[in-house]
């Protein structure tokens, strides 16, 4: 599972460069899949997607476990659902050009409890069921990040 020295990206020019991964999100019940970009977010206690995204995958949103959560700006409602997530391989082809290889999956996350948020949000890959199992290294000066399983070391 070598996510090593992946290039940081940003969505809009006002953001700082950050660890984004391009992923395929799958509803295990319907097998419907969608690609999207997801922010690796140490400030997020769980993985999170918007309700609009989950609806496209065929989730019956309000049948999930209900809760309320605090975001950077307010409190929102969420419903928890199980996702499967493939993370695609990604590398730099030039200083400003990133290539995502959709034929090469670097890591698959099974049975991820994802909070489906009742708001517009970039997809977040947070601590529960993801970062809690790995070591995240961020090299901001070089705009590179790594996510590795270093528990044996």
């Amino acid at each position: 599972m070598p996510i090593v020295d992946y290039p940081m990206r940003r969505i809009n020019p006002e953001e700082s460069f950050a660890p984004y991964l391009t992923c395929q999100f799958i509803n295990p019940k319907t097998e419907v899949a969608q690609d999207d970009i997801a922010l690796v977010d140490t400030g997020s206690s769980a993985c999170a997607v918007s309700a609009g995204f989950a609806k496209e995958l065929g989730y019956n949103i309000k049948k999930g476990i209900w809760g309320r959560t605090r975001t950077a700006s307010n409190h929102v409602q969420y419903w928890q659902h199980t996702f499967k997530i493939h993370i695609y391989t990604m590398y730099e082809r030039g200083p400003e050009n990133i290539f995502v290889d959709k034929n090469n999956i670097v890591l698959t996350l099974e049975n991820v409890a994802v909070d489906v948020m009742d708001c517009d949000t970039p997809i977040l890959l947070g601590v529960r069921d993801f970062l809690e199992n790995y070591t995240l290294t961020a090299n901001y000066p070089r705009r590179l990040f790594s996510i590795q399983d270093l528990r044996a070391f």
């Binding site: 969505i11 809009n12 020019p13 959560t69 975001t71 695609y88 050009n97 990133i98 517009d120 970039p122």
Partner: protein, 70 residues
């Protein structure tokens, strides 16, 4: 060959707070936008792109999220 600049996915600030449809995850040409994913996807489809890469563009520094359970 012209190599696209896609380290910043959506450089144009007019799309902040909207959903955009890009040609693909490796070509960040915007081919649709809207207030939700469906609208962005529909506009891309009208331009002949039936499988666009759709994403939400945060406002300003909006992607710096905190999501904390109570």
């Amino acid at each position: 060959m012209d190599v696209p600049n896609n380290r910043t996915l959506v450089p144009d600030p007019q799309y902040q707070g909207k959903y955009v449809a890009l040609i693909s995850c490796n070509d960040n040409t915007v081919v649709g936008c809207g207030k939700n994913r469906e609208q962005a996807r529909k506009k891309a489809s009208q331009q002949g792109y039936d499988e666009p890469f759709v994403l939400y563009v945060p406002v300003g520094h909006g992607a710096h999220c905190v999501h904390a359970h109570r």
